[in-house]
C-alpha cells in the first residue's frame, strides 16, 4: 500500500483521486447491471447515456472548480448555482429579446458571475462577513436579480440549427451524425488551468496557506485579504462560465432556481479531497468528484427513479466525506 502511495505517478494525481476513479468505474458497472433488472427494456450501457451524463458534468464541473478555491481558503460559497442562473438569464434575455450579439452575451454571462464574485469576495475578505452568511444573501440576490431582469419569464437560448446556435458546439458537436462531447475538452482545459493556478502560482499558494493558518500568513507580511478575495472572484468567474455550458446543454433557464447545483458542486469538491476546513484542495479530485455526481444523476434517472433520490444520496455523501476528513485531521493533530 505504502509503495503504491510513493509511486511518482500516483503522487502526481493523488491517491485519493485514484480511489475515486475506481469508485466511478464500480458505480458505472453497478448501474449497468442494475438498470435492466429494475426497469424492463432499459439499458445503461450506451454512448448516448455517457454523453448525457457528461452534459451534466460540464457546468457542474466549472461550478465545482470555482468553489474549490473558496473552500481552499476555509470559506464557502452557496451562491454559485443561482449566480450561474442569473448569468444565463441576463445574457439570454439580452440575446433573445434585445438582439445583442452572441459573443457579447457570452462575455456578459462571465462578467455577471465575476461581479458576484467580486462582491462576495470583498464582503468576506475586507468587510469581514462570514462567507456562509454572505453567500446565502447573495444567493437570494442572484435569484431576485435574474427574475427582475427577465420580468419573471424563463429564457430559451437558440437551438444549434438557429442563427445564433453555434455556441452549442462548445458542449457537443455533431460530426457525421455522431455526438462529439467537446465540452469535456473545455472542462479538462479549465481544470488544468485551475490546477496550475492552485499549485504553481503565488495566488494558489497563498489561497491554500490562508485556509490552513490565516494568521501565520498575515504575520508573514502577506496581504491575506487580497488573495482571499481573489478566490471568490475566480469562483464567480467560473460560475459565469458554467452558465454558458448549462444553456449549451439544456437550453431553457427559469428564474428563481439553481440552489440544488450549489450542493452538488460542493459535494463533488469535498468528495475529491478538498477539506471543508481549508488548506487542502485537489483539482483533479474535484473533477472526478463531479463526474461521479453526474454519473449518479444519470444512473438514477435511467433506473426510472425520481431525481429526488439523487439529492438524498448526494446529501449523505457530503456528510460521510466531511466526517471522514474531520476524523483524519483530528488524528493528525
Amino acid at each position: 500500500m505504502e509503495k503504491i502511495k510513493e509511486n511518482a505517478f500516483v503522487k502526481k494525481i493523488g491517491f485519493n483521486t485514484l480511489v475515486l476513479l475506481c469508485v466511478m468505474v464500480v458505480l458505472y458497472i453497478l448501474f449497468a447491471i442494475a438498470t435492466p433488472l429494475i426497469k424492463t427494456n432499459a439499458s445503461f450501457v450506451s454512448y448516448s447515456r455517457i454523453v448525457s451524463a457528461l452534459n451534466y458534468a460540464y457546468f457542474l464541473g466549472f461550478l465545482a472548480l470555482g468553489v474549490t478555491f473558496v473552500i481552499a481558503t476555509g470559506g464557502i460559497d452557496f451562491s454559485i448555482g443561482p449566480v450561474m442562473f442569473c448569468s444565463a438569464l441576463i445574457s439570454g434575455y439580452m440575446l433573445t429579446l434585445k438582439g445583442v450579439p452572441l459573443l457579447v452575451c457570452l462575455l456578459v454571462s462571465v462578467l455577471v458571475g465575476t461581479i458576484f464574485g467580486v462582491i462576495n469576495g470583498f464582503l468576506v475578505a475586507y468587510a469581514g462577513l462570514p462567507s456562509f452568511i454572505t453567500s446565502m444573501a447573495s444567493m437570494m440576490i442572484a435569484k431576485g436579480v435574474g427574475s427582475v431582469f427577465t420580468k419573471t419569464q424563463s429564457v430559451s437560448w437558440p437551438q444549434s440549427a438557429d442563427a445564433n446556435g453555434w455556441f452549442r458546439n462548445l458542449v457537443k458537436m455533431k460530426i457525421n451524425g455522431i455526438d462529439i462531447p467537446t465540452g469535456l475538452i473545455y472542462l479538462i482545459i479549465g481544470a488544468v488551468i485551475c490546477s496550475i493556478i492552485l499549485n504553481k502560482t503565488k495566488a494558489g499558494r497563498y489561497i491554500l496557506c490562508i485556509g490552513s493558518n490565516r494568521e501565520a500568513v498575515r504575520l508573514s507580511g502577506v496581504n491575506t485579504k487580497k488573495w482571499e478575495m481573489l478566490a471568490y472572484i475566480i469562483c464567480g468567474l467560473l460560475a459565469g462560465l458554467a452558465a454558458i455550458f448549462y444553456v449549451g446543454a439544456y437550453t431553457t433557464v427559469q428564474p428563481g432556481l439553481g440552489d440544488t447545483f450549489n450542493n452538488e458542486a460542493i459535494a463533488g469538491c469535498v468528495m475529491g479531497g478538498t477539506s471543508m476546513t481549508g488548506g487542502v484542495a485537489s483539482i483533479a479530485g474535484t473533477l472526478v468528484g463531479v463526474l461521479i455526481i453526474a454519473l449518479l444523476q444519470e444512473g438514477i434517472l435511467a433506473m426510472g427513479f425520481q431525481i429526488n433520490y439523487q439529492y438524498i444520496i448526494t446529501g449523505i455523501i457530503v456528510l460521510v466525506v466531511v466526517y471522514a476528513d474531520l476524523r483524519s485531521r483530528r488524528r493528525r493533530n
Binding site: K200, R205, L208, N213, E215, A216, R218, S220, G221, V280
Partner: protein, 497 residues
C-alpha cells in the same frame, strides 16, 4: 490567624521532561491571607491545580480540615469548599449575573429554570459581601471589577472555606482593587483561608499575612509579611544559581547606529507609553512577568495589532507601520511566541513555509520557481541544522525545535535586519535551545539586530546586551548587561507605576 485548615506537604509532580513540583509545602490557616509568590514557571499554578484535583500528585499529602484528602476533579474540591477565582473570568457575557453565578446548578421549578429564585439568592450573596450589583443585569455590561466580584460571589455560594485568588488584581483599577481588598478582609474576618497569587509586591505587603515563595518548582520558604521587606521576598524569588555563563559585557560597539527607535507607543490596555532604541548588532532583552505587555508591544510594533499612538523610526526614517506587510517591508521579522497559531502553516512543507514571507523572490514569471525554493530551503535546513528528512516534509511532522527553526528560516530567507524573537526557546529541548542561542549570536555578529522577549531570567542574562523591563504595559526599567542582576530585574518587573 486561627487553626490550620489546609496543609500541603512534600507535593511532587512531574510531567514528561519537567519536574514541575519538587516537594513543595504550603500551610493555610483560617482567617489568613496567604500569598503565593514566584516567577513565571515557578510552579504556583501547578500547585493550585494539584490542590483542586486538575492534576494528580505523584507524592505528598494534602490535609484539609484535619483529614487527608485527594480530589480527583475540581468539582469535588468545590463541593468540599476549596474554590479558585480565576484570573481569566469564566463568565458568559450574554447571561445575567444570577444566571452566571448558578450556572450548572440552576434552581428549578419543575422542569423550568426558576430565575426569580436565582435572583433572590444572588441578591443575598451580594448583601453578604456588601456589594451592590443587580442580579438581573447582563454580565457583559458590568466592568471587569464588578465581574470579578461576581466570580467571588459565585465562589462564596459554594460555601467555600478556602478561596484561591489567581492574580485577581491584574485587570482592575485602583478603586476596584480597594473594593476587592475590602471583600478579602471581610472574608478573612469570617475565618476563611485565602490563598493570594500575585506578582505585585506592594499588594502583598498590604493585604497578606504570610508569604510562601516558590522557585523553579521548589519550595523556598514562608515569611511573616509584616516582618519582612520587599527585598527579602525578591531575594527568595530569584536566588537561583545561574549555570550558564551570563554575558558580562555588551558586545555592541559603542558607536553602533540606532536601527529601530520606538517612541511613546500606546496600544490598548497592555502597551502604555513604551519607548526604546535598538542598536545595530544588539540583542535587546525584554524581561518581565506574565502579562507585562511585552508580546503586545511587539505585536503593535509589527503591525499585527492596531496601535493607538506612537512613532517608529527604522534607520532614522520615520515609518508608518499599519500591517505586518508594512513591517516586513521595513525589514522587520517577528517570530511569535505561539508557533502553532502564528508561525507555521501545518499543511505545507518545510520549503513552502521557508519562502512564505518572500514569495516574490521565488517567481519565474507568474509561476513559482519550485527548484529555487527547494534549494534555498535546503540551504537553511543545513545552516540551521533543522532535522527533517527533506524539505518536502510537512512541518506538522517536525518537532517543536525544528518547527521553530523553520520559522526562523522564513525570516532569514526574507533577509530581515531587525528580528523580534518572542520566547524563542519556549517548549524546545535543551539541545535545540543552545543551537538557537548560537544562531542568535551569529546573526548579531553579521550585523542583524534582535529584540528578544523572554520570561526566563537565565536566558535574558545570558543573551542580552541590554535589558528593557516591563510591568503592566509600561517600561519600568532599562539596564545594561553590566549592571543587570536578577534582583534588579525582578525589582523593576514588580514595580507598579
Amino acid at each position: 490567624m486561627g487553626d490550620v485548615i489546609l496543609t500541603m506537604k512534600g507535593i511532587d509532580k512531574s510531567f514528561p521532561g519537567v519536574h514541575a513540583l519538587d516537594h513543595v509545602d504550603l500551610e493555610v490557616r483560617k482567617g489568613e491571607v496567604h500569598a503565593l509568590m514566584g516567577e513565571n514557571g515557578a510552579g504556583k499554578s501547578t500547585l493550585m491545580k494539584v490542590l483542586t484535583g486538575i492534576y494528580h500528585k505523584d507524592a505528598g499529602t494534602i490535609t484539609y480540615e484535619g483529614k487527608e484528602v485527594e480530589f480527583t476533579n475540581p468539582r469535588e474540591a468545590q463541593d468540599a469548599g476549596i474554590v479558585i477565582v480565576h484570573q481569566e473570568l469564566n463568565m458568559m457575557g450574554h447571561l445575567t449575573v444570577a444566571q452566571n453565578i448558578f450556572i450548572g446548578r440552576e434552581y428549578m421549578n419543575g422542569k423550568l429554570i426558576d430565575d426569580k429564585k436565582m435572583n433572590e439568592e444572588a441578591k443575598k450573596l451580594f448583601d453578604q459581601l456588601g456589594i451592590n450589583i443587580d442580579p438581573k443585569e447582563t454580565m457583559s455590561r458590568l466592568t471587569v471589577g464588578k465581574q470579578q466580584m461576581c466570580e467571588i460571589a459565585k465562589a462564596i455560594s459554594h460555601e467555600a472555606k478556602v478561596i484561591i485568588f489567581d492574580e485577581p488584581s491584574a485587570a482592575l483599577t485602583e478603586a476596584e482593587i480597594e473594593e476587592l481588598f475590602k471583600i478579602i478582609r471581610d472574608l478573612r474576618d469570617k475565618q476563611m483561608g485565602i490563598v493570594y497569587i500575585s506578582h505585585r509586591m506592594d499588594e502583598i505587603k498590604v493585604i497578606t499575612d504570610r508569604v510562601t515563595v516558590m522557585r523553579d518548582g521548589g519550595y523556598v520558604g514562608t515569611l511573616i509579611t509584616k516582618d519582612s521587606t520587599k527585598d527579602d521576598i525578591i531575594n527568595m524569588m530569584v536566588g537561583r544559581v545561574i549555570y550558564e555563563d551570563p554575558k558580562t559585557e555588551s558586545q555592541v560597539a559603542p558607536d553602533a547606529p540606532v536601527v529601530l527607535k520606538v517612541e511613546h507607543l500606546n496600544a490598548g490596555r497592555m502597551v502604555k507609553d513604551v519607548s526604546f532604541e535598538l542598536h545595530k548588532g544588539e540583542i535587546l532583552g525584554f524581561s518581565g512577568l506574565m502579562g507585562a505587555g511585552r508580546t503586545e508591544t511587539a505585536r503593535a510594533l509589527f503591525g499585527a495589532d492596531p496601535k493607538d499612538s506612537g512613532d517608529i523610526y527604522v534607520n532614522g526614517q520615520k515609518v508608518d507601520i499599519k500591517t505586518p506587510q508594512d513591517a516586513v517591508k521595513c525589514g522587520i521579522g517577528y517570530l511569535s511566541e505561539d508557533r502553532k497559531r502564528f508561525g507555521i502553516v501545518v499543511d505545507k512543507t518545510v520549503a513552502e513555509n521557508s519562502t512564505m514571507a518572500s514569495m516574490e523572490n521565488f517567481m519565474k514569471g507568474i509561476f513559482i520557481d519550485k527548484k529555487k525554493e527547494k534549494d534555498t530551503a535546503q540551504e537553511y535546513v543545513e545552516a540551521l541544522k533543522t532535522k527533517t528528512p527533506s524539505v518536502d516534509q510537512l512541518v506538522v511532522n517536525l518537532s517543536g525545535g525544528n518547527q521553530q527553526k523553520v520559522v526562523i528560516a522564513k525570516w532569514l530567507v526574507r533577509n530581515c535586519d531587525i528580528l523580534i524573537f518572542d520566547e524563542p526557546t519556549r517548549g524546545i529541548d535543551v539541545g535545540a535551545k543552545s543551537e538557537i542561542y548560537h544562531l542568535m549570536n551569529e546573526l548579531v555578529a553579521e550585523g542583524k539586530s534582535i529584540i528578544m522577549i523572554s520570561s526566563e531570567m537565565t536566558e535574558i542574562l545570558r543573551m542580552s546586551d541590554r535589558i528593557v523591563v516591563m510591568c503592566e504595559g509600561r517600561k519600568t526599567g532599562e539596564l545594561g548587561i553590566e549592571e543587570a542582576t536578577q534582583e534588579r530585574i525582578m525589582h523593576a518587573a514588580t514595580l507598579r507605576n
